[in-house]
């Protein structure tokens, strides 16, 4: 591996060296009311981690897309400034007797995530490991799910957490990636068969059952376990990923429609069966029915959006606390977008959505340029997993869809989510690196 230059990446990372310390200074001045920028350690740490990632990619000779890392880092920077500005004691970690605040813990996870990203980008340079062992990966994912179901800890009515000693993680994040790898492998192999319809059932044409069944079986299994673990957001995300990948592989909107109908049916069943699903849906329809009870967080989020207006309350000046408490308890995780929209306003929040869109477009571009179907499907699936997750949580905050407990990739507080998101960027870098190498071999690229 020969070291390469990544000039665009460096250039797009540079503004972060201004953005993050500026954000830290603004929030500190707003909070204290004195002309004191406050401690800069964490801000410098964040910038250093991102530049470290850039340097490592250069040394590893990665020729992949140069906008992926800066886009992810920029999204992360906005979230990091926001997290640092919140009361630090609310969340955080106690690691080997060292108590860390929320921002410190998050910075640690940024470092772990970037390391994982570089490692993945290097390890999966050859796609064989992923593509040829797809059933093994699927099995591993299933096993993880089973473990969660058996030993998982319940948070807000959903079994989400698995604990290894003191460190807990959300297996859903890992399963998400494994699911994408498996579906990509399967679809790349059977794409032509799935696309060329042969069987007719009434007015709809479906592919031959032998090819469809394994797909359906795996899918139903995953959904079943997700339903059993009662995690609505992850179920929605998995379904979205699956349907999108099926659409890209076959070009059939009818599959997507069938899937959505299945989901609506399933959601109706879940509404009937599970109390916490019912509460969430009822709150979605009208949170103002019980604004101080079950609808509290949704209503407070809407108030936060309203307070923001066009320019925002100003960084560091939002969130009037009610007798010392945050108005929205889940602000650092589920409602971080509402917090950002309050302080940065419509302008800032739209910019954040724009950055997420940049990341999605670069991922899709990577998929389009890939030379083989597996790489294309893999990149599509990974990109969509980031994009859909962002859309689902943003739409949930905005009351467009019922709120579900998933994170805003790169923004929300939480190690598992951050790690998984950077692994996804690493895989995208690996795919786009391979494309670039092929182009070099043919003398068509730099």
């Amino acid at each position: 591996m020969r070291a390469v230059r990544r000039p665009v990446e460096l250039q797009m990372l540079l503004p972060l060296a201004l953005l993050v310390p500026l954000g830290f200074a603004v929030t500190h001045i707003a909070e204290t009311g004195t002309l004191d920028p406050g401690p800069m350690g964490l801000a410098i740490g964040f910038v250093a981690v991102m530049f470290g990632g850039h340097l490592a990619l250069r040394l590893a000779g990665n020729r992949g897309d140069q906008l992926l890392l800066p886009a992810a880092a920029a999204i992360g920077a906005v979230g990091f400034v926001m997290l640092n500005r919140l009361p630090q004691s609310q969340l955080g970690m106690d690691l080997f007797g060292v108590e860390m605040g929320m921002a410190t813990t998050q910075l640690l996870w940024f470092a772990v995530g970037i390391t994982a990203m570089v490692a993945v980008a290097v390890l999966f340079r050859d796609d064989g490991i992923l593509r040829h062992y797809k059933y093994t990966w699927a099995l591993g994912g299933g096993l993880l799910l089973l473990l969660t179901f058996l030993f998982g800890r319940e948070v807000n009515g959903a079994r989400l957490w698995l604990y290894l000693g003191p460190i807990g993680f959300q297996p859903g994040e890992a399963i998400k990636i494994v699911l994408v790898v498996f579906i990509a492998g399967y679809l790349a192999e059977k794409r032509a068969l799935l696309a060329g319809a042969t069987t007719r059932v009434g007015p709809i044409r479906i592919p031959p059952l032998p090819y469809l069944l394994p797909m359906l079986a795996i899918f139903v299994m995953v959904m079943l376990v997700v339903v059993i673990s009662r995690d609505l957001g992850t179920a929605l995300l998995f379904l979205g990923i699956f349907l999108t990948m099926l659409f890209v592989a076959t070009g059939r909107r009818s599959y997507v429609l069938m899937g959505i109908l299945l989901f609506v049916g399933g959601a109706f069943v879940a509404y009937q069966l599970f109390g916490h699903v019912r509460v969430r849906v009822d709150n979605w329809i009208d949170p103002f029915v019980d604004p101080s009870g079950t609808g509290y967080q949704t209503v407070q989020a809407l108030y936060a959006f309203g307070r923001g207006g066009l320019f925002g309350e100003g960084l560091g000046q939002g969130l009037p606390s009610i007798s010392g408490r945050l108005p929205i308890p889940a602000l650092p995780t589920d409602f971080i977008f509402a917090g950002i929209a309050e302080e940065l306003g419509l302008l800032g929040a739209t910019a954040l959505l724009g950055l997420a869109l940049v990341l999605v477009f670069r991922g899709l571009r990577t998929a389009m340029l890939a030379r083989d179907d597996f790489s294309s499907m893999l990149a599509v699936g990974l990109t969509v997993s980031l994009g859909l997750q962002t859309l689902i949580i943003v739409a949930g905050n905005l009351k467009l869809v019922p709120l579900t407990g998933i994170t805003f990739p790169f923004v929300s507080y939480g190690g598992s989510s951050l790690l998984a998101s950077f692994v996804i960027v690493g895989l995208l870098l690996a795919v786009s690196h391979r494309t670039a190498l092929d182009a070099v071999a043919e003398g068509r690229g730099p």
């Binding site: 070009g251 959006f305 309203g306 207006g309 066009l310 959505l353 499907m377 859309l391 739409a395």
Partner: protein
């Protein structure tokens, strides 16, 4: 091909992000003002909790409500329970009502009447100065009206028919809001006492009370018929005498007259029919006006839609009144002729607020024009010492609306004459004579009016109603219109008419400087 599909996917995702951004703009720009005014918004609570809150004065500069900040918590003191419904309350725990709610942002300085200052304050993260509010209500008349009700459940509302300024608006029973508008920690007990009291003292009967009007609605029927040319003051219904004994059969349903005592049936024109309050006469008139036209005239007087007290931008809200069943967006069409005939003399599905009824009287007094009612006269700079009176610096004035014409000037004149007869006529004074200001020491002034006895079914005492205005003689400019209801007060002539007459007389006395 995959590449084409990915391109399509990219378009769909772009669309989804655009929808999210659109929804963001919806909440942050379009819905933001509505959200900022909601009572449980932490922004509202925080401002109410700590900010020095502006004072509220009556039209004479008498202090009605003021605040002091003790231990970082703003405590509100209300000086006159007669105003508890109009002024409302601003509790840290139970939200706000009345003027306290509608003017909350200006009283606390959450916003500034000048939008430019508002923007500047927002940008600089400053709070606007708190402002004081002056009502159109005269405390002397308000207290007088409240005393007249004497704790009986009911309401009195008085308006200047020329300007729409509310002169008095008393609802009974009332309550003292001071006890639960201070420290939220100690507010629960006094609140429970008020909320649990009999007679629903928290209800503002003038704006939110729903009643059957009975005969006072005949004024609306007559107004519609005169304006539409369906009747003249001379119109009689020939078959009337016989119906007086047998009843008037509409679609198989017999409409009967109330007990007319020793009166002999005769051919009655409008003036006489209003004096004796003939149900059969007005059933005929209502049927001749027709269902659609009846509802159309009701709308012109403000029925069938929520009322507001104030300007377009800022107003105290009041419930809608209905002449037929409620439907989406107003009054449903009459279901049959019986309902129309009954509505014409104020029974069936008719459901009104006292505020609507005073507007009806005021429109007749004001030459056929329904005035635009308002209850806050102006906004002023905050007076440092509210006991010494309000500041001279007026920031914004309200009211001044020109009203809407409901009926022609000629029709209004004919109806006014009939309403004067209803109080002063030979038969009329038996029923409504108690509403005449002459009985309360005002000489040389005629009063126009109409009593109502709203039947509520057997074994239940009817509501007692009176609407009227004075001075009512030809050529005089009426200076006050009133609506009075005493719940379960019996006949209109008994409970309501004397209160109406006394309140109008008191106002004329105050105007004359006595």
């Amino acid at each position: 091909m995959i590449v084409t599909n990915i391109r399509r996917l990219g378009f769909y995702l772009l669309l989804a992000f655009a929808v999210s951004a659109g929804s963001l703009a919806w909440w942050q720009i379009w819905e933001a003002p509505g959200l900022a005014d909601r009572q449980d918004n932490p922004q509202v609570i925080a401002a109410r909790r700590s900010a020095p809150r502006g004072s509220i004065f009556d039209v004479q500069g008498q202090l009605l409500a003021s605040s002091t900040v003790i231990d970082g918590i703003s405590r509100r003191t209300y000086l006159d329970p007669a105003f508890s419904h109009v002024v409302g309350y601003a509790s840290l725990r139970y939200g706000a009502t009345g003027v306290e709610r509608t003017w909350d942002d200006l009283l606390t300085g959450r916003s500034d009447p000048n939008p430019l200052n508002d923007l500047l304050n927002d940008v600089l993260d400053r709070r606007a100065a708190p402002r004081d509010v002056t009502l159109t209500i005269d405390r002397r008349l308000q207290d007088f009206a409240a005393a007249q009700l004497g704790g009986l459940p009911g309401a009195v509302v008085a308006i200047d028919p020329r300007t729409g300024a509310i002169l008095a608006m008393a609802s009974s029973p009332t309550f003292d809001a001071t006890a639960f508008s201070g420290d939220p920690e100690t507010a629960a007990a006094p609140w429970a006492v008020v909320a649990g009291s009999p007679g629903d003292p928290l209800l503002d009967r003038n704006r939110r009370g729903h009643y059957t009007p009975g005969s006072i609605l005949k004024v609306l029927t007559a107004a519609a018929a005169l304006d539409a040319g369906v009747i003249t003051p001379q119109t009689t219904y020939p078959d009337q005498p016989q119906q007086e004994t047998d009843g008037f059969v509409v679609s198989g349903f017999t409409i009967r007259e109330h007990d007319l005592g020793s009166l002999q049936p005769a051919l009655w024109p409008l003036s006489r029919a209003l004096q004796v309050s003939s149900n059969i006469f007005f059933a005929h008139v209502g049927l001749d006006v027709g269902a659609d036209r009846f509802i159309d005239y009701a709308r012109r007087f403000g029925f069938c839609a929520p009322l507001t007290l104030g300007s377009a931008s800022r107003a105290l809200a009041a419930d809608a009144s209905y002449v037929s069943a409620r439907a989406d967006g107003g009054c449903a069409p009459f279901s049959d002729r019986v309902e129309l005939a009954s509505a014409a003399f104020g029974q069936a599905s008719v459901d009104v607020t006292p505020l609507q009824m005073v507007l009806l009287a005021a429109a007749v007094a004001n030459d056929g024009i329904v005035p635009d009612p308002f209850v806050v006269r102006d906004l002023r700079a905050h007076a440092a010492d509210p006991v010494a009176g309000p500041s001279e610096a007026v920031v914004e004035t309200y009211g001044g609306g020109s009203g809407r014409r409901a009926i022609s000037s000629a029709a209004a004149g004919q109806l006014r004459a009939a309403m004067v007869d209803a109080v002063h006529g030979l038969i009329g004074q038996v029923y409504a004579g108690a509403g005449s200001v002459a009985r309360y020491g005002i000489d040389g002034v005629l009063t126009a009016g109409k009593t109502g006895t709203a039947e509520r079914g057997p074994e239940v005492a009817p509501h007692s109603w009176f609407i009227g205005f004075a001075p009512g003689q030809n050529g005089a400019q009426p200076s006050i219109a009133v609506a009075v209801i005493v719940e379960g007060g019996g006949a209109g002539s008994g409970a309501a008419a004397p209160i109406g007459g006394a309140v109008m007389a008191e106002w004329l006395r105050l105007l004359a400087g006595g």
